[in-house]
């Protein structure tokens, strides 16, 4: 049985529409106009237990809406969702005890109390016995380096500290399914790395199924071997991350520094000062390098895959 299974998942919203200005405001008193927005359309998705999948798409693609539907927070307009075998739209408590949804821009921490109180609240709400709670809390405090922050009011914590506490609060009950929506948003680079490492460690140790959205491709590359890409609410790609990169960013960025400025370009490589620089199809790299190396003037060679962002930009037609 798959941990997450969605079929034909669709969500449409009615959104009020109002022009700017006083007249439009007065008109809207008796005549409201609405626009029907299709946030997600006929999405099929399957995640095996223990799988970590990156969920990608440009802003407004429907990622967060999909996560909310999968977690049971909002009701799909059409389609079915089963998480751990339960119909998540019914939000059965048995399921809620086994999943978590952590959203980077919203907090479940009690604002004026220390995170330790939120942990205790979740212990009571999720009916976690005290010995198990102490073990998990200590593990989370250790992995996320929270020792110095859990006894300070949440309102006094930095964004990064709060985000780590959010994650910890969402994991106190050791959920089997994690929906993580932008868990590293707004964090500095070192904090991003720490949270990324934590998610990797946690999912490995606990065998959790993780569906992760992030605009930071480093998050995705570090955590996910499979990605699902949506755009305009529709599935655009579902497969291996490497295959996505090969398909939409098949070139390599080649940079070769020579002992003397080259006289002329070599194949697709242009002359830039003392270097040959260019984008080369992956298959053509060995032959091209061999040609240049044969000159005996090569000082340094760099061959880099294109950033994942480039693959997505091509996939979205420049929208990413």
């Amino acid at each position: 049985m798959n941990a997450i299974s969605a079929r034909g998942l669709t969500k449409t919203y009615r959104s009020p529409r109002k022009a700017q200005g006083l007249l439009a405001s007065l008109r809207s008193l008796w005549h409201r106009e609405h626009t029907v927005i299709t946030a997600v359309s006929e999405l099929d998705l399957e995640l095996a237990p223990g799988e970590t999948v990156g969920f990608l798409g440009p802003n407004g693609a429907g990622k967060t809406t999909t996560l909310k539907m999968l977690a049971g927070l909002i009701e799909p307009t059409a389609g079915t969702v089963r998480v751990l075998g339960y119909d998540s739209t019914q939000r059965p408590p048995e399921l809620l005890r086994r999943l978590t949804l952590v959203m980077g821009n919203k907090q479940q921490l009690l604002w004026d109390l220390p995170p330790s109180e939120t942990f205790e609240l979740n212990r009571a709400l999720y009916d976690v016995d005290r010995a198990r709670f102490a073990r998990i809390r200590d593990e989370l405090v250790d992995l996320l380096a929270l020792g110095s922050v859990i006894d300070r009011p949440a309102r006094n914590l930095s964004l990064g500290e709060r985000m780590k506490c959010e994650l910890a609060a969402g994991l106190i009950h050791e959920p089997e399914v994690l929906f993580l929506d932008e868990p590293t948003i707004g964090l500095d680079v070192s904090m991003q790395v720490a949270v990324r490492q934590f998610i990797a460690d946690w999912s490995r140790r606990h065998g959790a199924t993780v569906l992760l959205t992030s605009h930071y491709m480093d998050d995705i590359a570090a955590l996910c071997s499979r990605v699902v890409v949506i755009d305009g609410g529709r599935l655009r790609y579902d497969g291996a991350l490497t295959a996505l990169a090969e398909r939409y960013a098949p070139e390599r960025a080649v940079r070769i520094r020579l002992a003397r400025p080259p006289v002329e370009p070599v194949g697709p490589l242009a002359v830039v000062g003392q270097e040959l620089v260019g984008q080369v199809p992956a298959a053509a790299v060995p032959e091209l390098l061999a040609r240049v190396m044969a000159t005996g003037e090569v000082l340094e060679v760099s061959v880099e895959p294109q950033p994942l962002e480039d693959a997505l930009r091509r996939l979205f037609g420049g929208a990413a």
């Binding site: 909310k68 408590p93 949804l101 919203k106 109390l113 709400l125 009916d127």
Partner: protein, 265 residues
């Protein structure tokens, strides 16, 4: 249900910790609900000309002290909380916990009771010194009836708040509608005016309306204006309103949550 009961002491403890964190704000809230003190002054002057609605000076003092106590014990701010949570999407976290959000809110409300009592005591003391003859029904039987009545009053109030708050799922926010209810409630609950002091048509309306189930009935019990023989009938009236509003609030909540879009979260 058993899990909720097991969790409840922890919820109350954390709710109390939150109350203490917000203590200054809560004291202000409690003081804003002290209208009965003002009305006590007004009706005390009216009673100079003779008993009003059967209340002499001691009776007026007893009645409004009882109203003040009931108001503090049966109060909730659920409609404000839920309106804000629904509008901003903050309800999302609560909906994904395996305990009904209203159970947590009930614990949050009840956790304020100790602080309310602490703030109330210094307000009551001067009234006792001013009207030492004021009497409350403090015998065990009356206290038992009062306890039942104030619990029912709190339940009706909480269910009313749930019903109004749930309308925010459709309207975006429902505070305006609740203010209409609150305005009528102030007049016909016995909060500002003893119901017996109102015109006959208003008394008739108040008798059939739900408002007195939240203030008037428990206040009458505590101020000794209800005989023990008549008490079961009044408790039954409160229980009926509780059932009615619980059914209405529950239905609106269930339908409303299905419309919830978690915008902003």
């Amino acid at each position: 249900m058993l899990r909720a009961l097991r969790a409840y002491p922890a919820l109350l403890r954390i709710g109390f910790a939150a109350v203490v964190a917000y203590r200054a704000e809560l004291v202000v809230w409690i003081l804003t609900a002290s209208m009965p003190l003002i009305m006590l002054g007004v009706f005390d002057r009216v009673a100079d000309a003779g008993p009003v609605a059967g209340l002499d000076h001691a009776g007026v003092a007893g009645y409004f002290v009882a109203v003040l106590i009931v108001r503090q014990l049966a109060s909730t701010w659920l409609v404000w909380e839920l309106n804000q949570q629904i509008r901003t999407g903050a309800l999302s976290a609560a909906l994904l916990r395996p305990l009904h959000p209203l159970v947590w809110h009930s614990a949050e409300t009840l956790a304020t009771v100790p602080l309310r009592v602490v703030v109330l005591a210094p307000l009551l003391l001067p009234i006792w010194l001013w009207r030492p003859e004021l009497q409350l029904a403090l015998d065990p039987a009356s206290l038992l009836v009062f306890t039942a009545s104030v619990v029912l009053a709190w339940g009706v109030n909480f269910a009313v708040h749930t019903a109004f708050a749930s309308l925010a799922f459709w309207l975006g926010q429902s505070m305006g509608l609740f203010q209409v209810w609150f305005g009528v409630w102030v007049l016909f609950s016995g909060y500002a005016i003893p119901l017996g002091a109102m015109p006959e048509w208003a008394q008739l309306f108040a008798e059939w309306a739900p408002f007195r189930a939240i203030i008037g009935i428990p206040a009458d019990v505590l101020s000794g204006r209800v005989t023990l023989a008549h008490a079961p009938q009044l408790l039954a009236v409160q229980a009926l309103w509780l059932c009615a509003f619980a059914a209405l609030g529950g239905a609106l909540w269930r339908r409303g949550v299905r419309r919830y879009e978690g915008q902003g979260a």
